[in-house]
C-alpha cells in the first residue's frame, strides 16, 4: 500500500481503544434500532439485496 493510500476517507486510520470495550454487547441507540427493525419488517429491503453486487 502506498503512503498516499493511508488515512484517506476510504481507508481511514482508526485507533483501537480498549476503553470502548465497555460498549461491546450493548445497544446505545435502542429506539433507533427498534424503528429500523420495524421499518425493515414492514417494508422489506431493496430487490437487489437478494443478489450480490
Amino acid at each position: 500500500m502506498n503512503k498516499k493510500d493511508i488515512n484517506t476517507i476510504k481507508n481511514p486510520v482508526v485507533h483501537i481503544d480498549k476503553s470502548l470495550t465497555k460498549y461491546k454487547g450493548k445497544v446505545i441507540f435502542k429506539e433507533k434500532l427498534e424503528k429500523a427493525n420495524k421499518m425493515l419488517k414492514t417494508y422489506g429491503v431493496p430487490k437487489s439485496a437478494q443478489k450480490p453486487s
Binding site: 498516499k4 493510500d5 484517506t8 476517507i9 476510504k10 481507508n11 481511514p12 486510520v13 482508526v14 485507533h15 483501537i16 481503544d17 480498549k18 470502548l20 470495550t21 460498549y23 461491546k24 445497544v27 446505545i28 441507540f29 433507533k32 434500532l33 424503528k35 429500523a36 427493525n37 421499518m39 425493515l40 419488517k41 417494508y43 422489506g44 429491503v45 431493496p46 437487489s48 439485496a49 453486487s53
Partner: protein, 153 residues
C-alpha cells in the same frame, strides 16, 4: 469526499467509534454505533453526542460546533472502515430528527459522484426503497459496499 476528518477511535470489533468534535462550543465527544438488526446482515447506524456529565448519548441534540461537514466526513469514514471489514453488510441510517436526516441526504447528494463508485445507495420514500437521486426527500437510507477492492482515491 475531501473534507477534513476527525481521528477515530474504535472498539476492536469496529462496531463502536468515538471521536471529538472541536469548535466554538468546545470539545464534544461523539459516538457512532453499528448494531445488527433483526434482519441478518443489516446494521443500524447510530450517531450522537456524549453528555460529559451523565455519559448518556443523545442523537437529537444540535451541537452547533461549526464543523458539520467535518463531522459528516468522519462518520462517512467510519462507514468505509466498517464495510472494509464487513464487506457484505447493509447499513441502515436515519437521523435522530428530520433535520438530521435531511443533513444526511444533503451530504450524500453533495458527494454522490464519489460515493456511488463504492456504494449502492437507496432512499426510502412513499413506502418503498429506491435508488438514491438528488433533490428527493427521503426518510431513511440503505447503503451497501460494492467492492472492497476498489478503494482508490
Amino acid at each position: 469526499m475531501r473534507y477534513e476528518r476527525y481521528e477515530l477511535n474504535a472498539e476492536a470489533d469496529l462496531m463502536f467509534y468515538e471521536f471529538k468534535s472541536d469548535g466554538p462550543k468546545g470539545e464534544v465527544t461523539k459516538l457512532i454505533e453499528y448494531t445488527e438488526t433483526e434482519l441478518k446482515g443489516f446494521y443500524n447506524l447510530g450517531f450522537g453526542d456524549k453528555d460529559p456529565c451523565t455519559g448518556k448519548i443523545n442523537d437529537a441534540v444540535i451541537t452547533n460546533n461549526g464543523d458539520s461537514k467535518k463531522v459528516l466526513s468522519t462518520v462517512a469514514s467510519s462507514v468505509y472502515k466498517f464495510t472494509n471489514n464487513y464487506p457484505n453488510a447493509w447499513i441502515y441510517a436515519i437521523g435522530g430528527t428530520k433535520a438530521r436526516t435531511r443533513l444526511y441526504r444533503i451530504g450524500i447528494a453533495n458527494n454522490l459522484k464519489e460515493i456511488i463508485q463504492d456504494f449502492d445507495i437507496y432512499g426510502f420514500k412513499n413506502g418503498e426503497w429506491r435508488e438514491f437521486e438528488k433533490n428527493v426527500d427521503y426518510g431513511a437510507f440503505l447503503v451497501r459496499r460494492k467492492s472492497v477492492n476498489s478503494y482508490h482515491e
